[in-house]
Amino acid sequence: MDQEESDGAALQDNLSGVPAPRLAAGSVTTYWDAHAFADTVLSEFEEALRSGDLPTVRDRFYVLAAYFRRTLAILHSSLEHRRQSSVEASLQNLIVLQRALSAMRRVAPDAAQSTLALESSVHRRVNRDLVHQILRDARGPLSLGTLVRRFNELDLIADARPQAIHEALESLILTGHATESRGRYSASRLPYLEADVDRAGLSILLGPRLSERLAAAGYEGLSHVLTRGDDFREILATETGFGPRIATLVVAAAAALVPPTSALHPAGRYQHADLSSSAHPRPYQRLLHAIFRANRYAGQVIEAPPASGKTLIGMLCIEDWLRTMGPGQSIVVLVPTINYQRQWVDELCLKEHGLRMAPDLVFAGTSRELAVSRRNGVMPAVLVLTYAALGRPTPGQGVFDLGGIERFLQANDVRHVILDEVHRVAANLKSNEANCVRVFREWLSDGSLASLVGFSGTLTAYRQQLNGLGLELSYVLPATELIARGWVAPFAEFGAPFNLSEREREVSNLISEYKALLLDYLRRIGTENLRRWFCAVSYDERLRLARGLGMYAGQRDAQQLIGQRLRVWEIKSEFSLNDILVLPIVQVANEWSDRDLMNQSAAGDDFDHRLQRFESIRSRLITLLPAGHLTDILGAPGFGQSTPAQTLSQATEPRRKDIDEARESLATTFAGTYLALRSWSRQVGEGRVSVVKSIVAAERESRKLTSVIVFDNPTLLEPSAPKSSPGYRGVAGLFANLLGESSITPMAALTSAIYLPDDAQRPLHQEVADWLVRRLILDDQGDALFRLAIIATRLERKKQLDLYSAFRELFGTYVGNLEQAGASSLLQFNVQVLRPLRKLISGAGLGRVTPSILNSLSTSHYHSREFARTIRGYAAVASAFRSARRVEVLQATGRRTAARVIPVPGGLRRQLMLDLTARIIDTNELPINLVIVSDWARTGWNVITPNVLIDATATRNVTAWQQLRGRSMRPAPTWSPVAERLMHRLLAADEGSVNVNAPSPNYDTRSFIARLPRDEAHLAREAAQVRNQAAESSEQTAVALMLQRNKVTHVYEMVRAYGSRPQIEYDRAARTWERSAAIRAKHTREDAVKPQDGLFIRGPSHAPLILNTDPRTDTPSDFQASLAAQLKSADEIVVRGWLRANREAAMESLSGSVAGG
């Protein structure tokens, strides 16, 4: 048996009543992951504490403590035997367990000992030290009883029994440090050396052997590891051969073992909730914070998927910093958009599980407003600013303003900086924002700044650039674990080949048929005849005709190219379709119809038969093509028998319009019609649109489709014209051709305009405007404004409600008139809302809190100003929706419909409008269920509900796509903390099972649910449907829970299967279809669970292509049928696959994710 296995088995033997750690299974080495277990035991501990069940409180603590000790033993053994993966897993588990133990100790010090004291040898030394200290400080000899009481009053470690104190006394007497007289004890004058807990801590962490070697190298205690982390990495590498990722985890574990800053600085000057001691931070959030802390916040960046709660990690940092911050010092949080600014303020001030800081302490606005606030005496401690606001150059200069940034840092005595979504900066190293970060880095390196840390959800493409900013990617949080716990929505990816539609294919075939006829016609006339007639036309005339017909039009050296071509034609032995212009030149010069031409060539006897065949193709094409320019040409009278009109321009460089007219005049000729048909291939795209529709239909057929995001190239609906015919291309083309689909209500969002369907029965643009005013202004902004004003006042509930109803009335009246001219100004906001409310509050007898509320409700207060600005912005957006311009849209099929165009302005309102699109798609109060976006929709676009994302660009913009992909994986709003906790328990309960597909032998649903708190039991019962099934594996319940409460996102990447450069190709040897090399390269670093078998795959094949028989011939209907078949039960397979991936690949993910390995 492997050492780890025996360790695990021993642990299982020694502990009862707690889930066993995972065991090695077959050839795949797997490791116990403490996260879920620690979280579960901690929540049980807290619940027992709440209900006063002290035996259970102690029991839960000692269960976790036992795991802690055992994990230490595994770590020491793994270090000794140099098993890297096991060392990594053990260190990570130690950090998680230590955090949970510390949290227990913080809330119940009587029941939970210091972790260091858990080690028996250290425990005895600490007892001895404390007893000696009590004796030394006492005025006279003490009895054993008094000693025990004073010892326990110290509250440093768990309550000691008299026996333990007696043992300590005996030890002290033995060494001459204490004396006993008549049952009373006192300290002797012999000098006493206290135990070196710092040194003992390192020995506990790394084992006596390694810690002795490290001590010889100058690292004698935990504090040395923490204060000389950089050198420590090298020493550890020398001593153990392990690389920097192990060192990072050792430093983080050391940081977790030393007392938290809160213990040293119990009360900072700023009041806030105790977040670090609460149960709210998730284990991995504590781990990531520990890594930051262990590295002393010195320029580290952590990559964690979107929606993984990076803000909370930031708040843990802020909490740590606030404890030691002096007056006037500040923390800066830099964010990409004002939407983020608002989120941070919410998290810092309003969220129940946030820091709950007084709003006056948190600033959100521009640096200019901050300067004004400071002049007015408001000294916020946390400044939330956008990168753009800070990095903005000096007006008129357009260059980076180093002095401006330094003045900002000095004026606000900035000590700590958080860079949120730092990839935005790394994306452009020459930007002002990047220069700002370099200044921070420089200030950090000389000590002017104390801390600088960063977060990103998508750093994959920018890892190298981080170094250019002087930042270091310290840790990449593996997505598998987050997905398995539902913090990131499980997802699957598909390749969606698109081809020509059935109609387009028929058109294409007819055009091919026409080409074959035309070539035959050309040969029938004969190259020799054509060349002779051509040469008979004067060179100048030929030149004029060639130019007029648009030969080489638009090319810089057109004259030269035409000349060369005309000379080639004089001697050419055989004409092909590439030389087709020779025909109209001859025809126009001689005023010959096609019939004339055949007659001249003495081959006119079969002309009528030939004409009939051309006509047949023409008439079939007219029925297939949408009415328009091409059908006009195809319907031109006198086909084949009329002389082309002589309307050619005389100009050396004719205008496009003249060329078009000249070409149209050729409509009656065989060659002229071909020239028009040749341009048809540029208008295709129906197949692409049809595949989008097929995806939506197949999704709807197989599961509950919430809403869809489509990512496409930005194209416009020709906004200046009252009519629009965008074809199929890009956002506008897709939007136009989805109009009128019965099950789809599309919206398109570009940086310059938003498009909505125009529906006379249900004017959607008006509906959106009403909803915006009602929900976003009246509810969201109004409630947030009110809460910010009263959050720090601790008003009793009744008074809060009274005030709130008065506020709602005032605010409602104000909002009712908002869209009138001038009504939304700051002045009106003050007159109609703030001033009456202040008056109301002044007379409400609220006591001491009155000045605080009045201060918040002043127009000089930055929060009020910010609200006024946002409300004004939303009012303008609502007006823009109401007055949306109607545009007639001609679909590519020829069907006429209409859309509403809402122009998007610049600045703040653009951000508001683009944020609004996420809210529109997320709400179920509006019918819009599909949004088409372009590459603006990335970081900061907080869309939640869509469970289908389609890349219709054929992967044009990889970076934008990756960021959007992250956006679509936010968990569903129904995935609550209760569901998260339950998932933890379920995963922990099933950990004894080696075969993930087999029910756990020790699991019984009923007894499991019986032990759950009521809220979790309700969810579990719902998921397990225990009324029908007596028992099943906890994994089955976990899968059901995920499917019921969370979403599973399907991500489709469309790939072109036709044309000269298809994006998929047939591998003859493997007899499979694969993406082209360029597309495969894009997928090298991506991974997902395959929807067919639930296997976790990294690389191109993680997103299987949906095929029927052959993507070159599959129709959209074929595609839809194949997809619908694959989607059946896919979500269950996907969720199960992610759970398995988390279980089986946890260590692989970890190994690959720690930077620098």
Binding site: G403, E406, R407, F408, Q410, S448
Partner: protein, 151 residues
């Protein structure tokens, strides 16, 4: 109250700056930034005894915070420095929150060599301190040459 800090491990030939400033944050920033720019820094808080004691160190330049003016001393310290050092007085740079023209004029009229408004950019401050120092050295050198020629 005296709070004197001098950076250790500094080149003794580096110009010595006497920083008289009560704002802890400014002192902290200057004691970090200025040594890295090639200065030695002696930072003290305002107080007659402390200032008198620091004068014996013969600083090359004095950076004067604006708390002096805020206390109503009305630049009497500058007069005191002028008196104490006479012609050997090092150049004085005022670091003040006031951007009023009258305050700037008063400082310069009393013989201050430069006036920098808070909030300030350390990079800019360093550049200006060097300019003042170099100008002072040139002036001294010119005087010395004149003395030689005069003799």
């Amino acid at each position: 109250m005296t709070d004197t800090r001098a950076s250790e491990e500094q080149d003794e030939s580096a110009p010595l700056l006497l920083v008289i400033e009560d704002d802890e944050a400014v002192v902290r920033l200057l004691t970090i930034k200025l040594p890295r720019a090639g200065f030695r820094v002696l930072a003290i808080r305002h107080g007659e005894a402390e200032i008198s004691a620091s004068l014996v160190e013969n600083p090359d330049l004095v950076v004067l915070g604006d708390q002096i003016a805020a206390r109503g001393d009305n630049y009497s310290l500058i007069s005191q420095l002028n008196k104490s050092w006479a012609e050997e007085r090092p150049p004085i740079v005022v670091l003040s929150s006031s951007h009023e023209l009258s305050a700037i004029r008063e400082a310069l009229e009393r013989g201050c060599d430069d006036y920098i408004v808070k909030p300030f950019s350390p990079s800019e401050l360093i550049q200006r301190l060097w300019v003042v120092l170099i100008r002072n050295r040139l002036r001294k050198s010119a005087h010395a040459q004149a003395d030689v020629l005069g003799a």
